[in-house]
Symmetry: C2
Subunit: 257 residues, 2 copies
């Protein structure tokens, strides 16, 4: 829990949404939306909310009709099973939506936790629905977003189901890389915002396994690594690795080669 020494600025002064100027507009909205349509969308969007690092945006099981668009920062989505074990169902970054998994049931299926100080836009699902009816293009776009989420989860299912640790990790790094590229950041080097433990929780591996695999990647020259900053020095190799075409060498094999 954080102690807030200064008054929370957005709580005191609820700023209006400004999709029009938002840097990540292209990620949230369809391209061909008229100015007036964007204004109507802005009108239904609630206040912006700051979420400090490690703070909970919403909690699994909470009744909620709210979706959240990440303005900046990073989040993890966590599910807790009956035995109390935690599983990470996804990482969200700027321009991505949080809380889609509440649409079927009205209650959040996961807990959203900020990985760093972040900001989100509140989107009341009920009002969004009304708007979707008025702006069919927006509805189609919303469906695309949900469809993408389904595809993302299918991809995760596949690597959890039949990929080895090194393939999972390579896929994960490449996925982050692509998402940063789409946001105009470097696809070659970036910071991991999540702990090794979170990565393990997402990939279905232990923290030790993540650590070892990263070490192997570094020894093989696929990546350079310093704490949480990664550089993909041999993307080709990672791609081949992710596809399962080229196994990584361990120490003995390296010495032999």
């Amino acid at each position: 829990m954080h102690i807030v020494l200064h008054p929370e600025p957005t709580a005191a002064r609820p700023t209006a949404a400004r999709c029009a100027q938002c840097a990540f507009r292209a990620l949230c909205l369809p391209e061909n939306l008229s100015d007036s349509e964007v204004v109507r969308l802005e009108q239904i969007i609630g206040r912006r909310r700051r979420v400090l690092r490690d703070d909970v945006l919403f909690r699994m099981g909470e009744q909620s009709g709210m979706l959240y668009a990440v303005r900046f920062g990073h989040f993890k989505s966590v599910q807790t099973d009956r035995r109390g074990d935690q599983h990470i169902t996804g990482f969200q970054m700027a321009g991505e939506l949080l809380g889609i998994d509440s649409i079927g049931t009205g209650q959040h299926a996961s807990t959203a936790i900020a990985l760093e100080d972040s900001e989100v836009c509140e989107i009341p699902y009920a009002k969004l629905q009304e708007l979707l009816v008025q702006i069919p293009r927006l509805m189609a776009h919303f469906h695309r977003i949900m469809g993408r989420e389904i595809l993302r989860e299918q991809a995760v299912m596949i690597f959890l189901g039949n990929m080895r640790a090194e393939q999972r990790l390579a896929s994960f790094l490449l996925n982050l890389s692509e998402r940063y590229a789409m946001r105009g950041y470097s696809s070659r080097s970036f910071q991991l915002r999540m702990s090794r433990e979170d990565i393990g929780g997402y990939l279905g591996l232990t923290i030790e396994c993540i650590s070892r695999q990263l070490a192997r990647f570094r020894q093989n020259g696929w990546i350079t690594l310093n704490k949480r900053s990664v550089e993909l020095t041999d993307r080709e190799a990672l791609v081949a690795l992710a596809a399962g075409l080229q196994p990584a060498l361990d120490e003995r094999q390296q010495r032999a080669a």
Copy 2:
């Protein structure tokens, strides 16, 4: 490939959709739809299509604006990765939707194969969209269906990520059981429509592992099993097993107890 000796009846005589009388209407449609609204839905639904066992309804990568509602029968959804390995992303039964994963991209992300002789209703997504705008309740229902799919995949992610073979299999059997119960069939005994290999492909396990686990379940008295017909003789135990609270006993432990 099947040789069709008699003309395909629905191809020759495209029967009109009849959602109103459909036994699984409650699964496809929201409850509070007026008769006229149901009629409008029926009008956009294309012909019914029969799909024979082992036949392909649609193929991964195909461009398509079509969704399919299963009228009767069972399907599996299969993805093939770059290395050529196949992974089962789901099993669909009467009242469930096929092809949702094409909504984001317009092309099917998986191949749908009939596990037995089956029948589906064609639903053109473009026309459905128009209707969703006119019938907001139907739109909300459609979103619920997509939301459910997201939740289902999350559940699969979790058991692929951190459950042992016995937990995955117990979860799988219980899930089938619940779905048959919702359809008015017995939740206690039913036929597995898919091969052991397909189950393995879905659960991220090998066929041998499935076979051994089923044998253990039977030895422990949780189920009775005859070829593909299963009876859940101790549901409590399976539930505890799925939750990871109670490990199954192997032969040695059984003798000791």
